[in-house]
């Protein structure tokens, strides 16, 4: 039986949803016009006023916001409420070097936690569950978001935060945690450690995992599911829009439902900025419809994916987005070819290699080099050098078929690639351009 946290919204008719979106959008545009001079100036430059916006069909008339705007307006330029009414900030990890500081009123935190509660409920969570939140707590949105969602659902919440892997496993086992929330790379590491400790899928009390905050492949999902004997659900979000919970996976495990009563999605051509027809692949753009303190309108996520209105077996009518191929910030251009780390991960896991890997990009004689570091495993190792070379070549061929360019595969010692407790550092780009 599918459970919902807010059924009337998650399963609303298209007409009802449109009505909600129209009403909220008009109110939000007026709010921003009146309270965010930075965005008002952008609207004026484009020659548009709140009077030009009558429904979501007029969304395309509004100017975009990008990471560059966030940098320029840092820290208070996009604030939509007096600081007196704000109760919290969260901030990005700054992995791409551009730290974002987002503000929240109590209302903003409430709606964010509702979104996370929808995700936990969709993963089968109820007030009978024990939910361990192993995302980092603090400035990072992962811990606070899922923690709040878990409270709303009524789960017994274990706020372990990230790190101290053996203690994580002790809590999971001793307190019979049934739901685990963390990054997929940390989930893989926890799984690896449990396996080392001799814990099989049947020994682990977990039944579901909610994993997000970084790109991961379908193969990695299978791997985690098999190791821990759980169902692994994807969750998507970004600090600019609140945090995790902008979209979430349901029992169908095929694409994520966007909480479109709060976050209105569009797909645009990243070069021309034109809105693309339904089903097209392009850059994902979100308008936060009812966030007060940090009211993003048409925020360009840099994530490449597509949207689908196809009927979902879970009964939700919320529009679905495909797992983004990766943030366009994560995309590497190597010898002129676009390479996403998730493509490399797919090949590795398909050929039975561990999910712990590192991608080194360099430049020799003006030509880009791509090295993929993979840890040797007991299963792969043999005394026969020819056999190891054959497998290595198989991997090189697989990568070439996937990427269209040659990658060098380097086999390295076990545990020589650092394990991550939060977002994994997959790519080291040493090119000086």
């Amino acid at each position: 039986m599918e459970r919902y946290y807010q059924k009337e919204l998650e399963c609303a008719s298209p007409e009802k949803m449109r009505e909600i979106q129209n009403e909220k959008l008009l109110k939000q545009v007026k709010h921003v016009w009146d309270h965010v001079p930075y965005y008002r100036k952008k609207m004026e430059e484009k020659g548009v006023t709140p009077d030009d916006i009558h429904s979501v069909d007029d969304l395309h008339k509004l100017p975009f916001l990008s990471k560059a705007d966030l940098r320029e307006a840092y820290p208070y330029g996009l604030l939509g409420k007096p600081l007196k009414e704000c109760v919290r900030i969260q901030s990005t990890s700054g992995t791409t070097g551009k730290r974002v500081v987002a503000f929240y009123t109590q209302h903003d935190i409430d709606l964010w936690e509702d979104c996370c509660a929808r995700a936990i409920t969709a993963a089968g969570g109820t007030d009978e569950d024990v939910c361990q939140v192993s995302y980092g707590y603090g400035l990072f949105t992962g811990g606070p978001g899922l923690n709040g969602g878990s409270h709303k659902v009524g789960c017994l919440t274990i706020p372990t935060s990230s790190g101290n892997t053996d203690r994580q496993i002790m809590f999971i086992n001793d307190l019979h945690a049934t739901i685990l929330c963390c990054t997929p790379s940390y989930a893989a590491y926890l799984g690896e450690r449990m396996k080392e400790m001799g814990l099989g899928p049947d020994d682990i009390p977990l039944k579901a995992g909610i994993f997000g905050a970084e790109a991961w492949s379908e193969e990695m999902r299978q791997d985690i599911q098999n190791t821990m004997g759980i169902k692994a659900y994807d969750i998507y979000g970004l600090t600019e829009l609140s945090g995790p919970g902008v979209s979430f996976e349901c029992s169908a495990q095929a694409g994520m439902h966007v909480n479109e009563d709060h976050f209105l999605p569009e797909i645009i051509d990243p070069d021309t900025e034109e809105v693309l027809p339904p089903g097209s692949e392009g850059e994902l753009v979100f308008t936060a419809l009812d966030k007060e303190a940090f009211p993003m309108i048409r925020y360009r996520t840099r994530d490449i994916c597509c949207l689908s209105r196809e009927k979902c077996s879970c009964g939700r009518t919320l529009i679905k987005m495909k797992k983004p191929k990766g943030r366009s910030d994560d995309m590497l251009i190597i010898r002129g070819v676009n390479v996403f780390p998730s493509q490399i991960e797919t090949v590795l896991l398909n050929q039975g290699y561990p999910a712990n890997y590192q991608i080194l990009v360099g430049r020799v004689n003006n030509t880009d080099t791509l090295d993929v570091l993979v840890e040797m495993t007991p299963e792969m190792f043999t005394d026969n050098l020819g056999e190891i070379n054959r497998r290595q070549k198989e991997l090189v061929d697989g990568l070439r078929a996937m990427l269209g360019i040659k990658a060098n595969v380097k086999l390295v010692a076990p545990k020589s690639i650092a394990r991550s407790e939060g977002k994994a550092v997959r790519v080291i780009d040493n090119r000086k351009i």
């Binding site: 040797m376 007991p378 190792f381 043999t382 005394d383 086999l411 010692a413 076990p414």
Partner: protein
């Protein structure tokens, strides 16, 4: 002990003289072999023979040691990946054509040799031994013994 499963059925066959060689994965970087031999030395393990097969990025260290079980345990504790392989140790007469005689016997019996290396570690005798990695361990032992060669077991080397 998963890391040390034997990768040949040969050792499971009825009694052979085969010696268990330990093969270890090492990165081809300065200090890696040093660190591994130090771990073994600290654990009081004696190396009887050693050979390296290397590629640009990594290598396989093949060793004959005095205590296979202890060595495997120490290696696992230090996160090395190792595997056991049965090899044949044959005493080589100190004379012209000594090695060739051994190889001729194997060729006649169509036993394929994958690799070999030498050791002087004949404990009591001071004799030279060749460590042979062959596909058919039992057959190699039979034909060499029939030709009058002396094979060593773990106690001798």
């Amino acid at each position: 002990m998963k890391a040390c499963d034997t990768d040949s059925e040969a050792v499971k066959e009825e009694k052979t003289m085969a010696i268990k060689q330990i093969s270890v994965f090492l990165e081809n970087k300065p200090g890696k072999l040093d660190a591994m031999t130090k771990a073994l030395a600290d654990a009081g393990i004696t190396l009887r023979a050693l050979s390296l097969a290397e590629t640009k990025d990594f290598g396989i260290v093949r060793m004959i040691v005095d205590d296979v079980f202890d060595t495997a345990t120490v290696l696992k504790e230090h996160d090395y990946i190792a595997t056991l392989t049965p090899v044949v140790a044959v005493m080589i007469p100190d004379e012209v054509g000594g090695l060739n005689g051994v190889l001729t016997v194997l060729t006649k019996a169509s036993v394929n040799l994958e690799y070999m290396y030498a050791t002087l570690a004949g404990k009591q005798t001071g004799n030279a031994y060749m460590i042979l990695r062959v596909e058919q361990v039992k057959k190699a032992e039979e034909v060499l013994r029939a030709a009058g060669y002396r094979l060593a077991d773990e106690g001798v080397i």
